[in-house]
Symmetry: C2
Subunit: 254 residues, 2 copies
DNA sequence: TGCGGAAATATCATATTATGATACGATAGA
DNA sequence: TCTATCGTATCATAATATGATATTTCCGCA
């Protein structure tokens, strides 16, 4: 019944339970049994049992009046466990704090995960959209300055393959979705050592990112700074933000 | 085999999978199959199957060389989903950002979860210990200024019951673990409207918290500020931090 | 380089356990 | 008050998780 594998090493019931957990996202913040069944494609009875189990185990809160399920605090504890397991975060955090204080602007730690960038740590300094102020958001790598900074450190061939095939998605009306343009941007990023994008995730936002390179010169993460185009033109960004950003990225590199 | 319930609405395999996930914490950041079996108390074969399933489903990363499992980025995406599901966070975030900028000090949003306080949002402004810079940490409510601020809004009877029975744990050598002292502290908190603690989570740290009250006057969350005793004495805290903190907590209240 | 121990991986017969159809009960809207 | 919808409970069936064991791979040590 479960597609992934009819393998004996695969526990279908667990996989189905995870499907239930994954049904919750930014546009599905609380779900009834029926809605869960629809989203997960699971049987109504199965959802009933799985959701009940997750509730008993403390993974889902249940509104006693509406009977709807919501993510519990356990979801945050999982993030906490993640943070301890990611060696980059512990290393980067003090330096990111210092950077955000120095710049007075929002600073992020971004990591590549598949074809996406995930914002692992966020230090918001100015009022911004909600999605940009909490960690864990994933966005297509090709569309973001952090993703471009990371990709620019890849060998030419891999870089080209990524630009050709990776996922693209217009987040704002001005998000770049033309792969030829992205090729150019990443070439530029590779030659000057930092990425600079406009209006990609939010309108009027400027993203600037420097890769955190490993010993082999290759990067899987980046330090990212997000500022308003109202207050910052490219010249001032280059002179007043870039040097500190670059220093921080270098300091984090192992 | 699973203690919780031999109920037909309880999916044991899912519960066991969650046991595997919960095996990871700040002191267990990556685990081998054997270690997982030991921690979870599950059969070696069961752990093999469950961990493999979690890996295939993207919940656990597997180091190809050490064969050990680690939390994956999916754990952060779950936090992201949580943030959208918690109405308080969206409401509080812009105000917390404003507060942290105004004070130039670390600001937290804390919620009560069972007998513990969980730090939901953290805006670190100064270099601090790692545990205090990432969200999702849980600490006994009785030991923290945020917990005391929340408890102080409870009816007398519930307050007393909590002080008598809730979990206590010495995080630092100077953490208050005497329940009589805590009674006094919470009484004081209730009468003056804010909580102030010293050396509870970190040595030389002063915690100051204001409850976020609901329409009935009762609170389940608090705004919390953490400063160094080196730089701040109680008088200055009261005059330069407290008013802004109180305003912010009030502004967040529904 | 080769040996030995430990840990990870693969296999398999068994019955435990998840399944999903169905029936019942509660809640909300007409 | 009635009716439709959604959540809850029950049960026979077989699918699926189980855990003992065998095999392979990996790693430290001589």
């Amino acid at each position: 019944m479960t597609q992934p594998k009819q393998n004996t090493l695969f526990v279908g019931a667990l996989a189905k339970g995870l499907r239930v957990l994954r049904a919750f996202d930014e546009s599905h913040t609380e779900l009834s049994l029926g809605a869960l069944a629809e989203i997960t494609g699971l049987d109504k009875s199965a959802v009933q049992r799985l959701a009940n189990t997750l509730h008993v185990e403390g993974m889902l809160d249940k509104d006693p009046v509406t009977r709807r399920y919501r993510p519990s605090h356990a979801w945050l504890r999982m993030a906490y466990a993640y943070y301890w397991s990611d060696p980059l975060v512990a290393h980067a955090m003090p330096k990111l704090i210092e950077l955000s204080q120095r710049l007075g602007e929002t600073v992020n730690l971004a990591e590549l995960t598949g074809q996406h960038i995930i914002y692992v740590a966020r230090l918001p300094c100015t009022r911004t959209v909600f999605a940009a102020s909490v960690p864990g958001r994933t966005v297509p790598a090709l569309c973001t300055s952090a993703g471009q900074a990371v990709l620019a450190t890849f060998p030419k061939a891999e870089r080209a393959a990524a630009i050709d095939h990776w996922h693209l998605e217009a987040v704002t009306p001005r998000t770049t979705t033309d792969r030829a343009t992205i090729t150019q941007q990443i070439d530029t990023t590779a030659s000057r050592g930092y990425a600079l994008t406009h209006d990609q995730m939010i309108l009027n936002e400027v993203g600037i990112a420097c890769a955190i390179r490993g010993p082999d010169g290759r990067a899987w993460s980046a330090v990212h700074c997000s500022v308003s185009a109202h207050h910052w033109d490219d010249v001032r960004i280059r002179s007043e933000i870039l040097p500190w950003l670059q220093d921080t990225a270098n300091a984090i590199s192992p």
